[in-house]
């Protein structure tokens, strides 16, 4: 469960840092304000932005736990690594392209240029579709190579993790469609900007998760993980 614990520790640090700035040392029983004396704070972050942050923490926990399960399962005797279909590398490029396009759209929306933002969102959607198609192709390549979902734990994890990631990417497509609709309808610029920003953040996170999954599935992280595993199993922690 090391991956999950590391993830939780990072979150706990973040939460602790945030809490430390919330006046937890205040003595609320002594602090009574008189009418009209309440200080004005700055503007608040939009709820949707905070909501996305919390949601990404949940998604992060999900993948951290999947990776934890992968690490624990990989210690069993029957584990045999599976060569990744080469298509995952061009797929990764597609996902990077989608993220870059959204960053570009974010800049456009920030300047108030709707056309610019629209082009960015369309480019990102195309790249994302290409990624999804590529992932399906990766599954077909595995199947044609005789690797079915039940052919071994490593390949089972490949299907499981890519499916979990793919479903989140499909969810992101809906967000993109919604953003596109906002731009198309000529919605309030503030909303368009927020929508593009949220989409860009989400897709960047999907890229980040995919890169981590790729490191795990390709075995590049394997050596590092096995060292961790040895240390932890030596101390009885896995």
């Amino acid at each position: 469960m090391s991956a999950a614990l590391i993830f939780m520790a990072v979150l706990a640090l973040g939460a602790g840092w945030w809490l430390a700035r919330q006046g937890l040392l205040a003595k609320p029983w002594l602090q009574v304000d008189a009418a009209g004396t309440l200080a004005q704070g700055g503007p608040r972050q939009p709820a949707a932005q905070v909501g996305l942050g919390v949601f990404l923490a949940v998604v992060g926990a999900l993948f951290a736990l999947l990776i934890s399960a992968y690490i624990l399962r990989a210690e069993m005797a029957d584990w045999q690594a599976v060569p990744l279909p080469f298509i995952v590398w061009p797929n990764t490029l597609c996902l990077i392209a989608a993220s870059l396009a959204l960053e570009w759209a974010r800049i456009g929306a920030g300047r108030g240029d709707r056309g610019h933002a629209r082009t960015g969102v369309i480019a990102a959607s195309s790249a994302a579709l290409a990624f999804l198609a590529g992932q399906l192709l990766a599954w077909r390549m595995l199947v044609s190579g005789g690797y079915f979902v039940n052919s071994g734990p490593a390949v089972s994890f490949f299907y499981l993790m890519t499916a979990a990631h793919g479903l989140h990417v499909i969810g992101g497509m809906f967000a993109l469609a919604r953003t596109f609709e906002r731009i198309w309808r000529g919605d309030d610029l503030r909303r368009v900007r927020l929508s593009v920003e949220l989409a860009a953040t989400y897709w960047l996170f999907m890229l980040f998760v995919w890169v981590i999954l790729l490191l795990v599935l390709s075995g590049w992280a394997g050596e590092f993980l096995s060292i961790c595993g040895q240390i932890l199993s030596g101390s009885g922690l896995t």
């Binding site: 469960m1 205040a26 029983w29 602090q31 009574v32 700055g42 905070v50 926990a61 089972s156």
Partner: protein, 589 residues
Amino acid sequence: MADIPHEASVSAPPAEIEEMELPHAHGWWSTHVFSQDAKVIAVQYAATALAIGAVALVLSWLIRLQLGFPGVFEFIDSERYYQFITMHGMIMVVYLLTALFLGGFGNYLIPLMIGARDMVFPYANMLSYWVYLLAVLVLVVSFFVPGGPTGAGWTLYPPQAILSNTPGQQFGIVLMLVSLILFIAGFTMGGLNYTVTVLQARTRGMTLMRMPLTVWGIFVATIMALLAFPALFVAAVMMLFDKLLGTSFFMPTLVEFGEQLSYGGGSPILFQHLFWFFGHPEVYIVALPAFGIVSDLISTHARRNIFGYRMMVWAIVIIGALSFIVWAHHMYVSGMHPYFGFFFATTTLIIAVPTAIKVYNWVLTLWRGDIHFTPPMLFALGFIVTFVNGGLSGLFLGNVVVDVPLSDTMFVVAHFHMVMGVAPILVIFGAIYHWYPKVTGRMLDDAMAKFHFWVTFLGAYLIFFPMHYIGLMGAPRRYFESSDILLMPESAHALNAFISIMAFIVGFAQIVFVFNLLWSWKHGKEAGGNPWRATSLEWQTPETPPGHGNWGKELPVVYRWAYDYSVPGAAEDFIPQNQPATVTKEAPA
């Protein structure tokens, strides 16, 4: 009116709130059924949870019929018995307690207590309830499919959960896993709402440290649930893969009826890790809202400010964090490395420190208080005693050497029923008696409430106290048939039957509670806006029950914390949170 010497709030109050756009209902369906009003959603959550909880209560009777009078009731065969205990456990823990505390009380109380108009994402909030209802329906359907519901035990441990000699292995287990996945998806939508509403929708002046402890408890429990439920989600999905697609995540090499199965190499222990990574925080997901609610009930009904507010908040946060590193104390008998057990025993015992701080603070709040023995107060007092009892046996079981011999006995059943069965249920009752007047505008009947309390409280003790004893004598849990084998001495048989009879009495007493809920809805005494003379914001709404949007034209402004009871020199024994300080010479603002 005089006021205590005070200083102005130093921590930056939140900014001026932008008015949120409320999705207004257009017609009967969108007002009462597909409502996006958190208060309606709360009642829907609570009603559904109580209804499915009643099913689990009946299941517990059936379990006790078999245990108390083995062989007498022939319709309870071993398969059904295991199905009963599985469904009883899962329904009570997930579909009743979690849903009621977070979906029910969370939805009703968070916006009202922090001075918000509603949850920040009302549509997702509505969807959350309907997905939860779907999860409950899928679970109910599993009672009617061929083979019935799963009988794998509420922990659903593989490999036996999906092997052919386990009841419900064909459809029951699949429906159970699907239902859990739906529940988690639904909860996530609700949980995002509860968290972000607390973070972003507090009214002016409502700093985090002015929030009532109820909100703190629900807030931290929601964050924990958002992070812990993914572990159950992953476990459920992987088990579905094993069951439906023939993978071997959890399934080891097995021979069944002389035939080798296609599974091989999987790790059942991996499932246990994932399950308890969710399962232990789950205990505190239920306990933290209960802690918060009890703090508010005690303070209000003892007319005393809560003792050690800051420490109470810190303890909630620390318990929440620690509960993520104690999960393997549920796995001492899984054959783990001794150092591993040592580590988890240590963290388990450490968690007792912040928990004990809370108990001391409750008692110190009561000390020299003006205690009103109202139904909410009775249930809150019942909770403290029960939680201490259940918690103390938890300290026993947290130690590996004590847990190993007791692990499979009724002692453990008695322990966890005290600490996370009876204790939180008492809080739920207390909270319903406390907030029902706000929800309906009418009081619940006092005599019926007190009858309900005494039968439930004393009855629960008469059920679970003897169960500790029977467990210590070695009576095993999970066994279907224990009469012919001398698993417990002859002398304890009558006690065992007595437990079953008490279970029936306590169960039937709940009819009084349900009747009270229904009868008082129309015939209860008019409550007025603030029958308990309480300080927190939900009692200061312009209308009771509060209308859509909660606050009429203007949001309330908060000038003080939620516990200004019996303030020396004040005209009344409570000062609402939205009442500003009176500027006097002695006490400049």
